[in-house]
């Protein structure tokens, strides 16, 4: 028994030592890779931060792969730029230490992300203090740029006011709904989105209910639906909860059309909802990629699958950072200045950031994707206004 205690002590010591060493290691690299040393003065790192594992990873991973593809295709001469992936699981609490680490490491000159709105809200002031420019490929909450904008934050997607309006418009025009039941997940993304849908629908909304992240039993919501007898159901939230919700709706014999926002726009959606999700509609500010680019083919070759959620936006975000380096930007401040003033045609849309860091909202098109046999297929384009 004494022997085993010693073994444990040894294991514990080794673990502690390992941690300490690896921590030192990180700091060391951070110090030396910073710039002027070595051959080129443009050896930098770009961070990608988002849910790279977990139930919502399929909404984020393709965009980071898209960014990697842009980097792989870049001919930077002597510059050695690397993309480092940071997994936050989409959780603001896990994103905060990640952001502190990135902001504190001078070799990072840009951040792609945050992928979700909650983590972005939690970290943007950290990045602001560090002066490190962010380009988000998919954080769509309205308040990020409209209520309290920070200089360093830019995004390639329109905000949820428009998405909510697009969903409502789809429900009214395409579905012809007059009694919509609106459900949200009570967090940073789902709730304001559902609010906006409610606002736009007006009298065409019959009832509203709130659920929570991590919920699996939606019985109370289902009984409310049975009473309300809706002719369409809108859910503001992510795949993890949408799957059991949708199954329980269908199990209860309610067959009203189901529509969600871009929080459901991931390859896992079809798998997660199974047969119950047949015909479910997902609204996304992401147009199907046009045929004249080699992007889709390149992506498929590199990652063995069609470009998934926000792959084009990820590609565009990386491209902007790389162009900043080509332009001679060598510090965070210079990169920030370049990004803020950037205009150009991206893969996803033509890009120019306004003073809040948004792309022009009239550049944006929304697409309704229908789940057919487990795959999200483009159905129709929706213009939120007019």
């Amino acid at each position: 028994m004494i022997r085993s205690t010693k073994t444990w002590q040894a294991v514990a010591l080794t673990a502690v030592a390992g941690l300490a060493l690896s921590a030192c290691g990180t700091t060391d690299t951070g110090g030396s890779a910073g710039g002027d040393e070595g051959g080129a003065d443009c050896n930098f790192k770009i961070a990608a931060m988002g849910a790279l594992s977990g139930p919502n990873a399929s909404i984020v991973v393709p965009s980071v792969d898209g960014a990697q593809l842009a980097l792989d295709q870049w001919d930077g001469g002597d510059c050695e730029v690397t993309l480092e992936r940071f997994d936050t699981e989409g959780d603001p609490a896990k994103a905060t230490p990640v952001a502190t680490q990135i902001a504190g490491d001078e070799s990072f000159i840009g951040v792609i992300g945050g992928a979700f709105s909650g983590e972005t809200r939690a970290t943007k002031t950290i990045y602001q203090d560090g002066g490190i420019p962010m380009i988000s490929q998919s954080a769509t909450a309205t308040d990020l740029t409209q209520d309290d904008p920070v200089e360093v934050f830019h995004r390639l997607v329109p905000y949820d006011d428009y998405q909510g309006a697009a969903i409502a418009k789809y429900l009214l025009d395409e579905v012809g709904a007059t009694k919509v039941f609106v459900v949200d997940n009570s967090e940073a993304y789902g709730e304001p989105l559902a609010d906006r849908v409610e606002e736009t629908l007006g009298d065409s909304m019959v009832a509203r209910d709130k659920t929570e992240v991590g919920q699996t039993d939606f019985a109370p919501t289902i009984s409310k639906m049975e009473t309300a007898e809706p002719d369409a159901i809108m859910y503001g939230g992510y795949i993890a909860e949408a799957a059991p919700l949708l199954k329980q709706i269908r199990d209860a014999g309610i067959d009203a059309p189901f529509i969600g926002g871009d929080g459901l726009y991931g390859a896992d959606f079809g798998n997660a909802v199974g047969e119950a999700g047949e015909g479910a509609v997902v609204m996304c500010p992401c147009a199907p990629i046009e045929g004249d680019s080699t992007f889709a083919a390149d992506f498929e070759e590199a990652y063995g699958g069609a470009p998934g959620a926000y792959a084009a936006e990820g590609f565009d975000a990386m491209t902007i950072f790389l162009k900043a380096l080509e332009d001679g930007a060598r510090t965070r401040a210079e990169v920030q200045e370049f990004v803020s003033g950037y205009t150009g045609d991206g893969l996803s849309k033509s890009i120019a950031f306004d003073e809040n860091g948004d792309v022009p909202q009239d550049q944006v098109s929304y697409w309704a994707y229908k789940n057919e046999g487990g795959t999200l297929t483009p159905e129709v384009e929706v213009k939120p206004e007019g």
Binding site: A57, E212, T216, P220, S223, E226, A243, P244, K247, A272
Partner: protein
């Protein structure tokens, strides 16, 4: 606040609440029995339940059974899954006892160490299913929600006349299944020789050992019994919700623990009362307000009840074996 929603659908909400509460009650048995005998809250019990749900998925996968199978296959698959889930959950509970708690007990560790160890075991099991098995086997393991084939398809068996309330086969199975298992366990503890040993250790462990009761075996027995009940709960859960995931036990475990405390921890019938009560309160409150505050309702009720009945609704008494 929408009291109309509650009153107009009272029958349906009650049924939903009893369904939810039945599962809480079955899981609560594991907490309550272990507490009764060892005065220990076994926080790894939530993962014992989680292992059960994965076992159900495993059995269905091995049998290749999916939704729409013939009635014979459905019964066989469900029974096999039940048996396998009970065995797997009981095995997991026993393993936790042998690997984690027993060495501590031998060294006379203070109660806090047991508590932390339980939480540690819980995390280890969660990460085994969330990460380790994913690396080894790939999908379906991982931190995602996994579908379980709805082998037993939901069908309305009868409608309660007057209320217009449709009662489905899955609900009958859950409620009847839970009550039968609880009655069986209650009878076992109160009437059998082994059960007498459990009660004896719960009352006074030292005296019981002097009387020739093997304390270690009683402890193993309560872990196995509690685990088996969690296995039953796991099957019933998958029948109703058709999903599992690596951390599915967390919330259910927490609620079941609450149910056990609510009913009077250490008291088998208290677990049933507490579970059903908690399930019904949650569903009623979610109907009046909404589901995003479910956990708040649950714990507000717990606090209020404990203010007036500090030992729970039925009091703490595995040893006293009220009958």
């Amino acid at each position: 606040m929408d009291f109309d929603a509650l009153i107009s659908g009272l029958d349906r909400h009650t049924l939903d609440g009893i369904t939810r509460g039945s599962i809480y009650a079955l899981v609560a048995l594991g907490y309550t029995m272990v507490y009764g005998v060892m005065k220990l809250i076994n926080f790894a019990h939530s993962e014992v339940f989680m292992v059960g749900t994965w076992t159900v998925l495993g059995v269905y996968t091995v049998l290749g059974v999916t939704a729409g199978a013939g009635i014979g296959m459905v019964i066989a698959a469900t029974l096999l899954a039940l048996l396998a889930a009970m065995l797997a959950s009981a095995g997991t509970a026993l393993a936790v006892e042998r690997i984690a708690y027993r060495p501590l007990r031998k060294k006379g560790a203070p109660p806090l160490i047991f508590l932390i160890t339980g939480i540690g075991c819980s995390l280890v099991l969660v990460e085994i299913f969330g990460q380790v098995l994913r690396v080894v086997f790939g999908r379906p393991f991982g931190r995602v929600t996994v579908n379980i084939p709805s082998v037993l398809e939901t069908k309305t068996v009868f409608t309660i006349p007057g209320l217009d309330l449709a009662v489905s086969n899955t609900r009958i199975l859950i409620i009847v299944g839970a009550i039968v298992m609880m009655l069986a366990l209650d009878t076992f503890v109160n009437k059998s020789r082994l059960g007498r040993g459990v009660r004896a250790v719960a009352q006074d462990a030292d005296t019981a050992s002097l009387m020739g009761v093997n304390r270690e075996r009683v402890i193993m027995l309560v872990f196995v019994l509690g685990g088996a009940m969690a296995g039953v709960a796991a099957l019933l859960y998958t029948v109703q919700y058709d999903i599992t995931k690596f951390d599915i036990g967390f919330i259910i475990g927490l609620k079941a623990f609450t149910a056990a405390v609510l009913g009077g921890i250490g008291n088998l019938r208290g677990a049933l009362v507490g579970g059903l009560f908690l399930g019904i309160v949650e569903v009623y409150a979610s109907a009046i307000w909404d589901s995003s505050w479910t956990n708040v309702y649950a714990f507000v009720v717990l606090v209020v009840i404990l203010m007036f009945r500090p030992t729970g609704l039925l009091g703490e008494s595995l040893g006293k074996a009220r009958a």
